[in-house]
Amino acid sequence: MDEKTLIKACSKGDIKAQRHVYDVYGPQMMGLCMRYAGNREDAEEIFHDSLIKVFKNIQNFKGDSSLKTWIARIGINTALDFLRKRKKALFLGHISDHISEIEDIDISQEISLEAEMAMQLLKTMPVNQQIIINLFVIEEMSHKEIAAELGISEEASRVQLSRAKKALTTILNTKITKNEHQK
């Protein structure tokens, strides 16, 4: 079934077509939800709400991007809405965000991370930093876009990213050093 036919069938409420979308795009969507939510229970909630929105609005999909990108975009928006509602203090603590904090920091060498490990690393960070990492690194959004999306300043976005990178670099550099010592 091609994408256009699939979209048409879904917009008519064809349950088989909806199941097809669920099977094809669901696992990646669930992965996305896991990245933002940090736990399975919340991720399932976001996933559920996202797909309801997808099927409710699929007739408005114009085809400017791929269906996969469009669905992922709905997933991100739903996840952010969910986190805003559940964790109201999420983006309130930016008064201390200062541009002088920003450091160009990175890990000492190229490494390859398993998704599971990357997920564990994300979980070690505060939720707002997890979100910035997701939006900036994974979704490749600019600070301007992130600022607009989250209702914060661009500086705040940069500071949060810098803090997140710093924390992750520390952890990973320690692991890398430990690994080198073991060798």
Partner: protein, 447 residues
């Protein structure tokens, strides 16, 4: 060595095409919501009915058009027939020696028998008399049999008719016949009372001799129908889906596949607007649904519940796996009462098309058989308490009827109907649309 973006690349690659496994319960939850949000096709039946109406109206229009031409032709034929008859009459009865035997032979002429007296025909006869006939001998049924020429009487008769003192054929004109045994008098009021012409239409003064004969619709029609039906359940919602075993839906679908349906319908039509051919139909219908079920189900997981809500399933050890088998015929019977409007499109005097549409009210009478109650983990007898006591739906269709003899009509009907049903399973219920089409054979008696 550039260390730029090592961290970003590592994270990005880690989550590139990252997928997380899905649980079937997630789909079931989603499906429950999607089915309940599914756009209701409430307008579909109306669209369907409109389509049928347009289609039938189109066909009927062309048939009627054709009939109009045929009718005009038949009136013209009647004229010709009448003229030829007059010629015959002129030759045979325009003498004082005419006998009743001759009259009978005229009476037996097939073209005379097909001459049906209507107001239009009488009008035509009147005009003909004025122009060329002295006097008409007419049967009690109003068939013109012969004419008698007599200039004096002709003038007298025409003056009587024109002054309104004559009812077309007067006693006087009959009395003046040289052989009274040949002639029958005709009283216009008697004629109208015994003929199929409605008094109202006579009072209307139909001046068009080509008008088709008007036959009003019967006020009441009794009908008996039975036939073939192809219907199926379409699940539209699962109530408390989170409380039901994940196989509830599948088992319901398997238990209700391709039912055999028998029905018998006693109906009554009341034409409350006969002039517009609009009526109302109701009646009582016995409906029996038979489902042959042959399911061998292995219960190898039991639900893990948080209070009522199912949060997971626990696999059963092999020695505890239950087999829930059902090989039986489930029978449910219903009494239906349709309430619908109908519109009659007459094709001609012998054939008509009826368009019907309205509501259907149904109540369950009995339910027999077995059901795999997966939520209870056992096979249970099927009981009518599992079904909703009353259900409502829509039905619409198209009917073609042909006049067999007198008031008896035989017809066939194609119907589409849909009823909302509710089937209790565990602590939830499956709501379905029981819908499909029927083809009925109908015997009707018009009162």
């Amino acid at each position: 060595m550039s260390t730029k973006n090592n961290l970003q690349n590592a994270l990005k690659n880690a989550f590139e095409n990252h997928e997380a496994p899905l649980k079937e319960a997630q789909w079931e939850r989603l499906e429950g919501v999607l089915l309940s949000n599914k756009p209701k096709r409430i307008f579909f039946p109306f669209f369907f009915t409109s389509l049928i109406i347009c289609f039938t109206a189109g066909i009927t229009y062309f048939l009627t058009l054709n009939y109009g031409i045929k009718n005009e032709k038949s009136v013209l034929d009647s004229r010709n027939s009448y003229s030829s008859q007059n010629k015959f009459s002129d030759q045979s009865i325009n003498s004082s020696n005419s006998t009743s035997q001759e009259t009978n032979s005229l009476w037996n002429k097939p073209e005379l028998k097909t001459f049906t007296p209507t107001l239009s025909n009488l009008n035509f006869i009147y005009k003909t008399i004025k122009s060329r006939i002295d006097k008409i001998i007419i049967s009690k049924e109003g068939f013109p049999i012969a004419t008698i020429k007599n200039e004096t009487e002709k003038k007298e008769e025409i003056s009587l008719i024109e002054s309104g003192k004559s009812d077309f054929i007067t006693e006087k004109s009959v009395d003046s016949s040289k052989d009274p045994s040949l002639v029958e008098t005709i009283d216009l009021s008697l004629l109208t009372a015994n003929s199929p012409i409605e008094k109202s239409s006579i009072n209307k003064k139909d001046d068009n001799p080509l008008s088709p004969p008007y036959k009003p619709a019967s006020k009441f029609v009794l009908s008996l129908s039975a036939g073939y039906s192809k219907m199926n359940h379409e699940i539209i919602e699962i109530k408390n889906n989170q409380n039901l075993h994940k196989d509830s839906r599948m088992l319901f679908e398997q238990s209700n596949q391709n039912p055999n349906i028998f029905f018998l319908n006693l109906g009554i039509d009341y034409n409350f607007l006969p002039r517009f051919n609009i009526g109302f139909n109701s009646g009582i219908q016995y409906l029996q649904i038979n489902n042959h079920v042959n399911i061998k189900y292995k219960l190898n997981e039991i639900p893990l519940r948080d209070q009522e809500k199912i949060v997971g399933y626990i696999p059963l050890p092999d020695d505890q796996i239950k087999e829930l088998n059902s090989n039986t015929t489930n029978t449910t019977t219903y009494i239906n009462v349709p309430l619908r409007f109908n519109y009659t499109l007459p094709i001609n005097l012998k054939n008509e098309v009826l368009l019907t549409g309205g509501a259907n009210f149904s109540t369950i009478v009995s339910a027999k058989g077995k059901t795999i109650a997966v939520n209870e983990g056992e096979v249970k007898p099927l009981d009518k308490s599992r079904y909703n006591k009353f259900s409502t739906g829509f039905l619409g269709g198209i009917q073609f009827s042909h006049n067999l003899k007198n008031a008896w009509w035989l017809g066939s009907e194609a119907q589409w109907l849909s009823n909302k049903m509710n089937f209790e399973v565990g602590s939830g219920s499956i709501i379905s649309k029981f819908q499909g089409y029927r083809v009925n054979l109908i015997l009707k008696y018009k009162i």
